[in-house]
Symmetry: C2
DNA sequence: CGTAAATCGGACTTAATCGGTCGGGTATAG
DNA sequence: CTATACCCGACCGATTAAGTCCGATTTACG
C-alpha cells in the first residue's frame, strides 16, 4: 500500500539517466533497459509518455533515442508521476476523481483530514526536482 | 497508485468514531458498519487488529464492543496504518522490506532520493494524531 | 532504393493484490 | 441456555499492475 508503481520507478530511473548524460548525447530505451536490467518494452512505453509530455525529446529512426527537453531543475517528481500515471498521486479515490466516485462521501468523517495529508504529500513530491537526484 | 487501502480508510473512520463518543460508552462494529454503510465483516476484522495493537479495548459477550484504549493525542495516523497493514506505509519494496527483495537494488540510482521522499512522508503520517480528526 | 535500428501504440496475457464473504469458534450478560 | 458480540482463518471474485506481443512508422546510411 502506498507504493509507487514499477512504471514510475522505471520512469524515474530513465529520466535520471538521460539527465545525467552529456547534454548533446541521445540515449536509447534499449541502452537504459540493459544498463539497469529493466523490461525493455515496458520501459519503452513509459519513455514514450514522458516524451509526449515534453520532458524528453524523441528522435526517431536509426541512431535515434531521447534527449532531455528542459532543465532538470524545472522537472518535479510530481510531474513525472503525473505524466506516467495520467494523474497526480492521490491517497484516496475521492481526491483522485470526483467526490461522487465514493459511495460514502456524504457521511465520510475523514475526508477533511485526508485532504490535509494529501496537501502535505503533494508538497513532498512537488518540491523535489529531477536535478536533486542526478 | 499511492492510495490508502479500504481497510485503512475503514479503520480511520472507526477509530475516529470511537474516539468521538462519550468516554465510557462501548461501540460495536455493527453500529459503525451501519452508521457509515461499511461492510461489516471487513470492518470487524480491522477493528480486531486495532484492538490487538492496543488502540481500542475489546469487550466480549453481549453488550460488548470497543472503547478507546488511550488518549487520542497519543495515537498517530501512522501507527494506525501500521496496525492494520502490518507495516508502515512505504513507497518502494526495498524500503518496506529488505533491500534484496529488489532485483535491481545494486544498480538502482534512485533509492537514495526515494529514501528522502519516504522520510518526508513518514513525517506527514506520524505527526498527524487521531485527536486532530475527531 | 532497401535495410536496420529506433520510436510509436494498441491489444493481449499473466500475476499479484484488494475487497469482500463465509463458516465456525469463544466469551458473557441476563 | 440463549442471544449477541468479538475472534480468526480460509476462500473467492474483481480489479489492477506488470509484462509481452505484434505490427506500424520514421530515418540514417550504404
Amino acid at each position: 500500500m502506498l507504493k509507487l508503481s514499477k512504471k514510475v520507478e522505471y520512469g524515474l530511473i530513465a529520466m535520471r539517466h538521460v539527465a545525467a548524460g552529456e547534454s548533446g548525447r541521445v540515449t536509447t530505451a534499449k541502452e537504459i533497459a540493459e544498463r539497469y536490467k529493466l523490461p525493455y518494452e515496458l520501459l519503452a512505453k513509459v519513455m514514450q509518455k514522458l516524451a509526449k509530455r515534453g520532458f524528453i525529446v524523441s528522435h526517431q529512426g536509426v541512431y535515434g533515442g531521447y534527449t532531455l527537453a528542459k532543465g532538470a531543475g524545472e522537472i518535479s517528481i510530481s510531474s513525472i508521476i503525473d505524466a506516467i500515471e495520467g494523474q497526480l498521486p492521490a491517497i484516496a479515490q475521492c481526491i483522485a476523481e470526483s467526490p461522487d466516485s465514493c459511495s460514502i462521501y456524504d457521511n465520510c468523517t475523514i475526508k477533511n483530514p485526508l485532504g490535509k495529508i494529501q496537501t502535505n504529500i503533494d508538497t513532498v513530491f512537488r518540491s523535489m526536482k529531477l536535478s536533486e537526484i542526478v
